[in-house]
Each structure stands twice: as structure tokens, then as C-alpha cells.
Amino acid sequence: MKQNRIILKRFSIITICVLFIFSLCSCNSTGRYAKRDIDEKIIVHALGIDMTKDGKFEVTLQMLAQQGSGSNTPIDPSKPNSASVSQIADTIPAAIERCETDLGKKAFLGHSELILLGKNVEDLNPIFDFALNAEGISLGIFMAYTDVTAKEILNIKITSGTYSAEVLKEIFEESVKNGTSTECELIRHIDNIENTNGVTVMPIIKKIKDDKKSSDEKENSSSEENFGESKSDDSNVKSENEKVKSESSEDSQSESSSKSEESSSKSEESSSKSEESSSKSEESSSKSEGGSGGGEESGSGGGSSEEAEVTAFYIDGAVIIKNKKPQSVMTRDEIIGLSFLNNGIAEQEIDAKLGDTFKPVNVGSVKKDTKVSIKNNRVAVDINLTLSYEFYKSYSEKEKKIITAKATEHIYSICNKTITKALKEEKADIFEIHSLLNHNDYTLYEEYKKNPDAILERVDINIKIDPQN
């Protein structure tokens, strides 16, 4: 009996404590700590940041469109599942606040997957400041550039996948695996910037446009300064894609390109124009290998077209950032070279040229050994790459040897191109040289910290590829 009373007494005290704490938590109905229900918040999936001509920030928030969700099913695939809102202000938080006012809800950034930067963004300082200080933004959020405005990309409403930003994230993840993109998580950018003189590499995401739009953009291309080089690469990729189609190599179709097919086939029903573009998106996605997602664009950026266009995304090249400012653009091949040299590639289709024909071979990284030595005041970084090669079964042993040699030659060439571009031309430490020096020669590392450019001038990167069949 006495024991029961004690238990009852303890239970009462605990209940009073819990009730007291909860009542304290919920007593605030106004001010900073005002209680907000879940329906008073919007879950932001992606943020787009553009610069206006007068130096202001245009922020686009992409979130789940509730009208795309059926009442009984989680997602209604016939409707686009994302919505977006844009606002312009002097600072990024102020622009977000205006978006919140537009929506009448508080934006929750904790589940954001992507920060997309428009081509006009020329100073990353305010963006990093925002990303590091904004409440809840994950360190794993992807950060990338686009060759148009971020608003334009985020306004594309994809009907496939769970939601648009997730499709974009999958594109990045797949591209990192096949080496067409560098790692682009916020924390990796910060780590690179902290260790070097503000150097990092941000992939560029592009959309595949229809003929009408492409011709419009060609006219405008003379006025676009930042990614002019990248634009020419885009056209190269397209022409290569057409070539791939003519070869009709079915094996190169990736999983996400089939996703694009699915979504575009849905759009085919709606308009004949969509049909043309969807076949185009299929072509490009087959080459971009995983870097694509299909969807329907219902109006873009500032000058939105009212006609629906079927589009797809792909990663094409990257921007070298130096001193937290975009410096130059790397091509898709150069990024593949960089991936071979840095983190390795899970698998990448390399076309070995034999006479007039191309023979595809699947190359993957197995091992990487790096040695640093100092000779005659030069820093020699010897990178030994062990790569695996996978062929079509129909090749003979002799053919395999020739294809291996040709593919290896191609990899040498793209790696050297990357080294020339980044190290010799841009003096950008995107090869983790700071880390190599820190682990191998501390005196040199101290010199590097004082004057990175002077040390990078003395660095020679030598590659040796060990093919493994």
C-alpha cells in the first residue's frame, strides 16, 4: 500500500513537470518563438539564387505542390509535383522572407537538397555566408551552377520521381559516380575553399532545350559572358548525342535516361511538339549517362513561354571558382579527367577510336597511388591510376588490347587536358595538392599557405595508368 502511494506520488510529480514544461513551450503565441503548425510551413526542396542587373538577389524556392498530390495517393503522376516562388531583395534572407510573405507560410530549409546558382552570380561570398548561417541548411546540400538562370531550371516541373529537387539530386549523384560531375556538397566546397585560396569546382546543370528556344538563345549568346565556352560545349554534346543515336548503341542507355523516356512518353500524349523534344531528351540523356531527368516546363524565368516544352537535365562541365568568384569553365571531358585524378570513377563509357569507328569500353577506377617528391625546386606529384576495362563479349583478345591502348591514350589525354587547364592556366588547386603537401612536406605546405600560386607554378603532375582487364 505504502509502495503504491510512493509510485503514485512520483507519477504525479513527473506528470506535473511534463505538463509544466509543455505549457511553457506552448504559451508563446506571438513573437519569435510563436508556435507554428506543420500546415503553416512550406518544405523547401531547392533554392535558386540569381543576380539581377542592379545587383540584387532573386531567390526562387521550389517546394512540393499540393495540387500534384491526390487525396488518396501520395503523388498524382499526371500533374507536376513542384511549385516555385521567386522574389527579389537586397539580401538572400530578405528575398526568402518576401517569398514567405507571398505564400503566407514560413519556409523550412532543413530538407533542401540543392542550391542552384544562376549564370549571373559572380560573387559567392554572400551565398556561402547565407548557406552557413541559415537555420537548418544541411551540410550535404548540393551546390551547383546553371548555364541559364536558376529560376528557369527550378520552374521546370517534373512529373517523374518523388519531387523535382530529388530528381536533380539523383542526377548529381549519378554524375559523380560516372565522373561527369565533381562532388558538390556544401561541405566539400567549404573544405576546398578553406584549404586553398578560395578554390572549388561547381558542376553546371543544363536543360535540353527545343529547337525554337535554342535558336532564340543563339541570338542572345553574344550578350552572355560567363559560360560562353560552356555553350559551345553544349552544342558539341548534342551533336555527339545525335551520333550516338545513329550508332544505336542500346547498352549505353542509363537508368535515369529511361526515366526521362517514361516522363516524356507521358507528355507525348499531350502535344506533338512535346514528342519531338522528348526524342531529343532521350538522345542527350543517353550520352550524359545518368545526368538527366524528364519533365514538363510550364513557363520559365523572366520571359516564360506559354507552350509546354518537354525538357531534360544533364550535367555538362563545371565552373572553377577562385577567391570565391567564378574563374573559368571546364568541359565535360576535363571533369572526367579530374574525376579520374581525384576521387575515381565507378564506371565511365570511353569511346576508343579505331580508324573511323568508335568502340565503347567501360572504364572504372580500381586504385590510386600518389607520391610527392621534390627535384630541382620542382614538386613532382606522381599519380598512378589502376583502371579496370570491361568490353563487349564479341571483341577478340587482339581487339581488346587495341581498344585498351586507345582508351588509355584517351584517358591520358583528358587527364593532361585537365592538368593544363586547372593547374597551368588557372593555377587552381583542384587536385588536393594542399593535402598532399601537408602530408608529405610541411615546409612546402607552409609556403603554400602564404602564396599558393607560387607553389602551384612549381608543381608537375605526372600520370601513369595501369590498365587491368
Binding site: I13, Y33, D191, E432, S435
Partner: protein, 352 residues
Amino acid sequence: MRKISFGQMITILFLSRIFYAMTFIPFMYSDVTCQVIGFSISTAIECLAVIPVIILYKKHPDKNLCQVAYEKSKIFGILICVAFAFAAVLVINRLLRYFGYFMYVTFPDFLPSWIVIGAIAIISFYAAFQGIEAIARSAGIAFGFFVLSFIIVTAALWTKMSFTNVIYNYPSIKHISHEVFNELSKFTELLLFPILYPYIKEKAGKSIYAALALKLIFVYLITSICVLTLGSYLNISKFPFFDLGTYAETFLIERLDAFLLPAWILIAFIKTALFMLIAKIALSTGFKKVKSNVFLLIISVAAFAASLAAVLQEKWSYSVLDKTVIMILILILGVVLPLVYCFGKGDENETE
């Protein structure tokens, strides 16, 4: 007197220390290399510093330091009891401020910091009111939760760790000594142990060494994972261990920071409750005529009021109070005093 087991004592001592490691290690303004060397040196010093208390325990296994001092000299004993209570108030005050700061930075719009620390103070008061056994049992749950969350976060981050993220610097004597001083000012186990050792069933001496070893292992693990995963982001990270949670993701959960939060709350609560308890024990030893729970109430209110004043002004850290004063109290109460009482005759019912 209800006693706790060897394992529970280790858990209590370990948790009272790991709060700082979870919150501030590796510290953003210090070099990681110096910090790692500092942890090793400070742990070695800590191992030496506990020897007088262990000898005292062997001489007086059933009497805590306050009781020993009170028996030798009543007035001096009362002074020692008050000093222990004062040290406990300072430690609770520091912990509540740090916890308030952690919540203020990581969940700024969630709750006002004063409500957070108020809630911790109330729950801790209740746990201290229930006694050492209740705290020890709760510590077991908190320890289990901490280890589980640590394993899950580490597993989720495994693929994201890279040796290229490790950037070390040549350590300087000045920086290392600074780190050693910092670490020793957090060595509050030396305030807990002389009061709590009569409550342990067996192997009290071994329990503190086990707790120190466990602390060192986890501090190394936390530092290594932070360095391998976060790289130079550590230079700007206020709460590195918590940031691991924001970066970690599994196929089911996008981010694990919310998963880590209960471990923080539980550990903060355990530590606050422990120091409320030792303050209560110390004062009730010195002032036998007053009911011990009155002291508990006074201590809780004093610690909370001091923290509240700081939190409302958003003053999260007081360098002299948090480091120098606590460090001096640890040295006097945890090392010098036991050393003085080491000499002389022990109790008749000596054990171990």
C-alpha cells in the same frame, strides 16, 4: 545507504565529462593537432591527480571528503562543504549556459533558451531529489542512447570519410599548454568522485580510471570522425559533433541531427542532477540540522537563477569563471585536500 554498481559509477563519471566533448570538441578556434596532444597530456595528468582521492577512499571507504574534513575540524569542514557546493553551482551554471547556447544556435526559433534550461533544471532537481540510484539508472539509459546514436552517425558517415580531409599543423608548446589547461578545467569528475565514492559497491578506484580511459577513447573517436568527415569546415563549426548529424544521412532518414539531440538533453540532465546531488550531500554534511532537500532546493534555484541572468543577457561564456575559478576549485578540493588527508590514520573498517 543505497549503493550503485561499478558500471554505473563509470557511466556517471563518463557522462559528466562527455557533454563538453560532444558540444565543443574539436574546438573551432584551436588547432586540432594541439587539441589531440592536449587530450593525451591532460588525461595523463588526470590519472595522476586522482591518486590522492583513491588513497583517501582506501583509508575512509564509507566517508566522503566532506565528512572526513568535518571530523578533523568542524569549522574547516563546513568551509569545505560550502566550497563543494559553490563549485557545484559554478559547474551547473556553466553547463546550463552552454546548453542554452547550443539550443540557441542550433534551434533558434524553437524555444527560448530560458525555457530550455528551466526544463533541464526542474528535471534534474527531481532526479537529485530521488537520489544517486535514480540518477545512475537514468545514466545507463543516457549512455546507451549516446553509444547507439554515435554508432549510427559513424556508420552513416563511413563512406564520407577521407584522409585527404586531414590537415595537421606543427604544434607549439604554447597552444598545447593552453589546450591542457582547457581540458583540466573540465575535469569535474574530480569534484564528483570524492563525494560519491562511498556510494559505490566495489572497485571505486578502478571506476574512475575506466571512466578516464573511456573518455579518452571517445574524445579521440569524435575528433577523428570530425576531422576525417568535416575537414577544414571544423575551423568554422561551432558544434562539430552536432554537424556530423546534419551531414549524416541514411536511406531512411535524410539527416540525423534530431536523432543526436536526445543524447545531448539526457547527458545535460544527468550532469546537472549529479552536481545538484553532490552539493546537497556536501551541505547536509556541514549543516546536519537542516533537511538535505532544503539545500537541494537552494542549490537548484541559485544555479538556475545565475544561469538565467546570463542567458537572458545572451552571455554564454565567462572565461575567468568557467576556466580559472573552476580549475582552482578542482585543484584544491580534488587534489590538495585529499592529499592532506592521505596522511594519517585510516578508518578501522578498511576495505579493498
